[in-house]
């Protein structure tokens, strides 16, 4: 596709529910990143994939957060047993090269945990 596509755009989850957020990067992009943007804050790094390999997951806030990119294209960010502090916009970005200099961001998924 022409850009990075994220779905759903909006997600409301009850506390304790599991959620899955999808990212379709630009075709052929090697690198894929997930960021979390809390209200009124800048994006914060969660995790980085190079093709199917998850090379950096240092930003994942807890073991309830899990990301995968099994075939090196589509990625899913899963949050188990959601809590109110998980409410944020989750941004995906992809880059044609290793590393992030050519980032293109998606529009994000706004997660609200009630």
């Amino acid at each position: 596709g022409a850009g990075v596509s994220q779905s759903p755009r909006y997600k409301v989850a009850k506390r304790g529910q599991d959620v899955a957020l999808r990212c379709d990067p630009i075709s052929g992009h090697v690198s894929l990143f997930w960021y979390q943007q809390a209200l009124g804050q800048g994006p914060e790094f969660l995790t980085y994939f190079q093709n199917e390999a998850q090379l950096d997951k240092s930003g994942l806030p807890s073991d309830r957060f899990f990301a995968e990119r099994p075939e090196g294209s589509v990625s899913t960010l899963k949050i188990q047993r959601t809590q109110q502090e998980d409410s944020a916009v989750y941004l995906c970005a992809s880059s044609p090269r290793t590393g992030g200099l050519g980032y293109t961001f998606g529009s994000g998924t706004r997660l609200t945990v009630v």
Binding site: V4, S31, F33, Y35, G40, Q41, G42, P43, E44, F45, Y48, L55, D56, G59, L91, A93, G99, G100, L101, Y103, F105, G106, S107, G108
Partner: protein, 114 residues
Amino acid sequence: AQSVTQLDSQVPVFEEAPVELRCNYSSSVSVYLFWYVQYPNQGLQLLLKYLSGSTLVKGINGFEAEFNKSQTSFHLRKPSVHISDTAEYFCAVSGRDTGNQFYFGTGTSLTVIP
């Protein structure tokens, strides 16, 4: 690690007036620097970036920024703003040798007043 400080959380400015959005960074290594713009309910769009070379960088929509190594700053400027420039602006830094992860500031909300 790197960090970014955006000193102004909100900047109101009249249409056709000049504007400067301030960004200071801290890093123990050489860095790449970026400015992104975020319109409501949209992802981040790259305005400009400094990788190397000339310290004055020109970007899209008439914006420019100057890298000042001694002051560890990367302020964003535009000589004459338009209503359409109303948005959130984020400064970001990435280490040259660890370029996978971006560190974002908390953002500056620019409001252009007619």
